[in-house]
Symmetry: C2
Subunit: 174 residues, 2 copies
Amino acid sequence: MISVHTKIDASPASSEKGKLTPLDIEAIDLFISFLKILGLPKSVGEIYGLLFASPKPLAMDELIEKLHISSGAASQGLKLLRSLGAVKTVYTPGARKDHYTADLELSRFATVFIKEELQPRLENGLERVRRMEALLAELPEAEKQEALERMTRLKHWLEKGNTMLPWILEFLRT
Amino acid sequence: MISVHTKIDASPASSEKGKLTPLDIEAIDLFISFLKILGLPKSVGEIYGLLFASPKPLAMDELIEKLHISSGAASQGLKLLRSLGAVKTVYTPGARKDHYTADLELSRFATVFIKEELQPRLENGLERVRRMEALLAELPEAEKQEALERMTRLKHWLEKGNTMLPWILEFLRT
DNA sequence: CATTAGTTTCATTTTTTATTGAAATATTAC
DNA sequence: GTAATATTTCAATAAAAAATGAAACTAATG
């Protein structure tokens, strides 16, 4: 089933060196949009998107050339993506430069978002609610009831979130 | 059960005009942190937080005074929060100024986030994947297989998200 | 209907965040 | 070793986002 007539394409869909294919562009756009949810800058989305679309690992200077980003942005973006486990360094025998490839475990992004953005805030929120409940004692009776009701609602909602997140993590994992 | 001796408190836990109580501050901090997830600016979190902590509706100038924000920020923040349904205008008989109160349906924020941030991106993403699959045809056979695998993974993940979000919405609703 | 009070708008400023690129550091080749 | 190449760091700059406040607008009062 291996192709027999892999002719050199006249309008190659894949990299004619330093140029993005339409496929690359779609992937980049998509990941810019998704990684933005995590609060990551455009350049990081671009890097991941291009690596995702690339059949083979890319070196830093290829990223720089194709995406027109600075070496600093490339270096920092890769560092960040590696720290998330979203990009891996690939050993390429006899190659001077490091080569990078996208880890395809996409759930990783959602997981990071939940663990780093949502869960800490929920926990912090619950702690804060406890502190607020303590402060309620000092309120005049008239206000206390109403305030208590609000605290209860807030707590309830935070707890709901707190129980839901592990389910989501589990669902994503599988 | 109505309090009989509502003495004028020496160190009032509630507003001695233009000053935030410790309770206010806790609530404000909490909502700044949460609304930031939605990409909302600090001032909006402050406004909602203060309204949430306030037993009675507040006028715009009270917000401005207590939070030390400009009239512009107050006006725009309230407008935005009203558009989300998170803040309501309260009719106060014989009052010149409008008065605002926090809607306590907190799930609203999560709902907005899901409907405005997540769902559109997922749908857009799926559409994009379709476009990418079409582009795959032009790839040389060697790359095609690998690329197809990636597209499949991406699609799978987007679909997974797409089925999960309605569950979450439903869970939040109840 | 004119005066005053309240709110919104929006050009400008401030603050925050992201990017650049040259210099410092690290790595590989010879 | 040291020359050549690759990567990281970080101060400076650019870009994006938020806040300000004066002016325009709107609504209520007498």
